[in-house]
């Protein structure tokens, strides 16, 4: 019987995704150390800013600058390496910033994650954090992360 063979292939598909005006302006705001949201027709502030609201199916309107601090709404700490994703451990958090009605996702940095038990104890729903902006912004969602409030 012939040994079953393998055939290696890589999908190297390249994209240049159009982000639209709203996302572009949000990302531009990060370079100015500002977090922008957009107000929905029923008065909620969507952060990050989106040009439409999927709940009311209406365009959003007014730009609203929200605060640079807020509370953790959910978190996880990743210990498993995944091919193509960053080297663990790293913490991901969703944060409800002051004045926002939806939470913004980002890394939580500045916390020692090696000791899992201590790291988890330091984080919780309601834990206060603030936005830390990159000193060398590149205009992407990697230009900010969160750190624990002192």
């Amino acid at each position: 019987m012939t040994d079953a063979k393998f055939y290696e292939q890589t999908w190297d598909l390249q994209y240049k995704h159009a982000l639209g005006e709203t996302t572009s302006r949000f990302l531009e705001g990060l370079t100015q150390q500002k977090i922008w949201g957009r107000r929905t027709t029923d008065g909620r502030v969507l952060v990050p800013a989106r040009s439409y609201d999927d709940q009311t199916h209406m365009p959003t309107g007014e730009w609203v600058e929200v605060g640079n601090s807020g509370t953790i709404e959910m978190f996880t700490i990743v210990y498993e390496p995944f091919k193509g994703l960053p080297v663990p451990p790293y913490a991901l958090v969703y944060v409800l910033l002051e004045g926002a009605d939806t939470a913004l996702v980002g890394y939580l940095k500045g916390l020692d994650l090696k000791n899992q038990k201590d790291a988890i104890a330091a984080l919780g729903i309601g834990t206060k954090v603030y936005v830390h902006f990159s000193k060398t912004p590149v205009g992407s969602a990697a230009d900010y992360w969160f750190e624990l409030s002192k």
Partner: protein, 398 residues
């Protein structure tokens, strides 16, 4: 609305494993079709139309992969379409097949497919690209972190802990040990689950599903076909689907439509199916549930969305011996469920097939004694797309 009656007359599934190197992908798909047809006792010539489930093309490495497998399915020259509702695909495809028959245009529809998730060595990196191009892809979200976030929130809201999740794993691994087709067949203890390595806290290795390879298929028929041929199908008595916001960040805070800790949109989908089937009290009327839960934590809130427990109350019931084969109340995932076998494209289809086997008394060692009414559900996207079904051994009042 009165539903046209559609029944399930055949279900086939392979033994699920990590890797299969003896077959190409189309050959694997063919296994699913062949086993379903053999189980139904019909040939492909009897089939009027074919629905094919396949989630991301990238995992099998061929774009519009449905076009590649059509010869293997035996579907050449027949009406044929592919569904992709993410993880819910396998069940959405069954709903699509139901629709083909209920439209009155077809009597016999085959749904069959396969997956070999391990063929892509970078599945979680691929799955990161499910998220928003502008805002979320720079952050390493994947299907594990998205559910870790949900699990963490559930623990917080309902004062639950990792032991509650571990109890689900212990139950499902025990059930899977009785199911010859399951991928993970060894039993585990609570201590072993808690000691297994953390993937993304609070999800540990033994809370998580494997990446499975294998095939499955179902044959659905109209009531007139079943009567004409003297068949006794498992009947689809109700079905529903619903969708949640894409943005996980919209599922927290006081103004959220639903909380990421729960599955409120799934509860709506269950209600749609229950209304059609005439189920008013699932705790009393349902015998068995085959519900899609790739991680132990998910099963807790899916049980609650199905109305089998109040929000936050499933861990206590589980600790009390509920949900386990031979235990109290509704038996949940007697097959071992998605947590023990997850061939993405057909996982939802298997839920329906296992539910059908249960009401027909064909489930073997993991049969729930006297099961008459079963429910099935599936989840796709980032906890975003929900499918539900009620299946019964007869057409009498439930």
């Amino acid at each position: 609305m009165t539903l046209d009656n559609v029944g399930i007359i055949g279900f086939g599934q392979s033994k699920f494993v990590k890797t299969r190197i003896d077959v190409t992908f189309p050959e694997l798909v063919r296994e699913g079709a062949t086993m379903a047809l053999e189980n139904a006792g019909i040939s492909i010539d009897d089939v009027d139309a074919v629905v094919y489930p396949l989630a991301p093309d990238a995992l099998i490495g061929v774009g519009n992969g449905e076009r590649w497998v059509i010869d293997a399915l035996g579907a050449v020259g027949k009406p044929f379409m592919r569904v992709n509702n993410g993880g819910a695909t396998g069940m959405s495809a069954v709903l699509t097949a139901w629709t083909h028959i209920a439209s009155g245009l077809f009597d016999v529809v085959l749904v069959a497919g396969a997956d070999r998730v391990s063929e892509s060595s970078s599945a979680q990196s691929v799955l990161n690209k499910m998220w928003d191009v502008g805002y979320e892809r720079p952050v390493p979200l994947n299907t594990i972190t998205m559910l870790a976030l949900s699990a963490q929130r559930y623990m917080h809201l309902y004062d639950s802990d990792e032991t509650d999740m571990a109890m689900v794993s212990v139950k499902n691994r025990y059930h899977a040990s009785l199911n010859p087709n399951a991928h993970l067949q060894s039993t585990v203890t609570i201590e072993e689950v808690l000691a297994s390595r953390t993937l993304a806290w609070p999800i540990k290795l033994m809370d998580a599903c494997p990446a499975s390879t294998g095939a499955a298929g179902l044959v659905l028929v109209s009531e007139r076909y079943a009567k004409k041929n003297g068949l006794k199908p498992a009947w689809i008595r109700g079905l529903g689907q619903n969708s949640e916001t894409y943005w996980m960040g919209n599922r927290v805070g006081p103004k959220a439509m639903g909380d990421h800790a729960d599955a409120d949109a799934l509860a709506v989908a269950f209600q749609r199916a229950y209304d059609q089937a005439g189920i008013t009290n699932p705790r009393e009327q349902v015998d068995v549930a085959e519900i899609y839960a790739p991680f132990s934590s998910v099963e807790l809130h899916v049980i609650e969305a199905a109305g089998i427990a109040d929000k936050g109350k499933s861990p206590a019931a589980l600790a009390n011996g509920d949900y386990t084969l031979g235990g109290n109340g509704v038996t949940v995932n007697p097959s071992g469920g998605t947590q023990c076998t997850n061939p993405i494209a057909v996982t939802g289809l298997i839920r329906v097939g296992e539910a059908a086997n249960q009401v027909l008394g064909l489930a073997g060692a993991h049969q729930v004694k006297g099961a008459r009414v079963a429910i099935a559900s599936a989840i796709g996207g980032d906890h975003q797309f929900y499918s539900t079904m009620v299946i019964c051994s007869d057409l009498e009042e439930i």
